[in-house]
């Protein structure tokens, strides 16, 4: 049974693939980036459109989860008000590591149209939680969100168990 019995030619008739541990784990992780079902403003509408059949974010292995405990990625989809910022931070902290953040749209990137007179708006969600990918747009089209997701997947692909890749 197994490799030992087939030392002469182990690849002859067995279903064997050789790969690195990092590659395998990263492939598994990036192919099942479960996202938190969490919408903040009008960008959430585009996020829903990206989840629906036409753009079908599910083909990248993204499944909306109703709990931060089961999520790998949180999409900050919309205006982060100061009141919501404290809640957003709590939700982020409730997610298990490794976790990723996509900042979607101008509001959560930098305050967007509220940058000057928005007394209630946090000028960029990166003031409370670390952001991996910024998706520009007001709101970004679903294609742009998919691009952002692919950027996160590229980031996951380059990570390693053995050493920290900056």
């Amino acid at each position: 049974m197994g490799l030992l019995e087939k030392q002469d030619n182990p690849f002859e008739s067995s279903n064997i693939v050789i790969t690195g541990a990092d590659t395998l784990l990263n492939w598994a992780r990036l192919s099942s980036m479960w996202m938190m079902g969490f919408g903040l403003a009008c960008c959430a509408i585009e996020m829903m459109a990206a989840s629906a059949s036409h753009y079908d974010i599910g083909r990248f292995g993204v499944i909306p989860r109703p709990s931060p405990r089961q999520s790998d990625v949180i999409i900050i989809s919309g205006t982060v008000t100061l009141k919501m910022a404290t809640r957003t931070k709590i939700l982020y902290e409730q997610m298990p590591d490794p976790k990723y953040v996509i900042s979607m749209g101008s509001c959560s990137n930098c305050g967007g149209p509220y940058w000057e007179h928005g007394y209630h708006v946090l000028k960029g969600v990166d003031r409370v939680i670390p952001v991996d990918v910024y998706v520009p747009g007001c709101p970004p089209r679903p294609e742009a969100l998919l691009e952002g997701l692919i950027k996160v997947q590229e980031k996951v692909r380059k990570q390693s168990l053995a050493k920290t890749v900056v």
Partner: protein, 166 residues
């Protein structure tokens, strides 16, 4: 009844406590919806509203909107848009109070849906409503300082440790 007929009726019932009639220009719709009567004595607004609701031929059973306004000359205004759904007639009232003593009688016991409108006016503009059952902020958190729609309002530099200016 037309707007001005309702105004005349109010004037004959309350005399000097009702101020001038402000006729708006524009389309018939704009004239009907945004012409308003000043209530000169702000302390009487609840009595005027009760009269408008209970007088059989007026029958104003609905408060469409209660909104607040900073006039920029150290006075604040509250506008009441009323509708009689049965008689299909409209009227708007306006009271003006000084900024340093912004207190208006509540109309919550006349139309219960004034409750949240008055809480919003308190939250955003800092107008206190006497006799309101639950005079708390409605949108901002309890620890917010100041009333952000006032003309002289200045952004705080920090809110709960988060930087607010851009």
């Amino acid at each position: 009844m037309t707007n001005t007929e309702i105004y005349d009726k109010l004037k004959s019932a309350f005399g000097e406590k009702i101020g001038e009639w402000h006729e708006q220009t524009g389309t018939e719709y704009m004239k009907r919806m945004s012409s308003y009567a000043d209530v000169a004595d702000s302390g009487y607004i609840r009595d005027v509203c009760l009269y408008l609701r209970d007088e059989p031929e007026l029958g104003f059973d609905s408060l469409l909107l209660l909104s607040s306004l900073d006039n920029g000359d150290k006075t604040l205004s509250v506008t009441y848009h009323l509708e009689s759904r049965e008689k299909k007639q409209f009227i708007a009232l306006k009271v003006t109070v000084p900024e340093n003593n912004a207190v208006v009688p509540s109309v919550t016991d006349v139309w219960s849906h004034a409750n949240w409108h008055e809480r919003e006016a308190w939250d955003m503009m800092g107008i206190k409503f006497l006799g309101h059952p639950d005079m708390r902020r409605i949108l901002l958190d309890e620890d917010w300082i100041g009333h952000p729609l006032r003309k002289e309002y200045k952004h705080p530099d920090f809110y709960r440790g988060m930087k607010v200016p851009y």
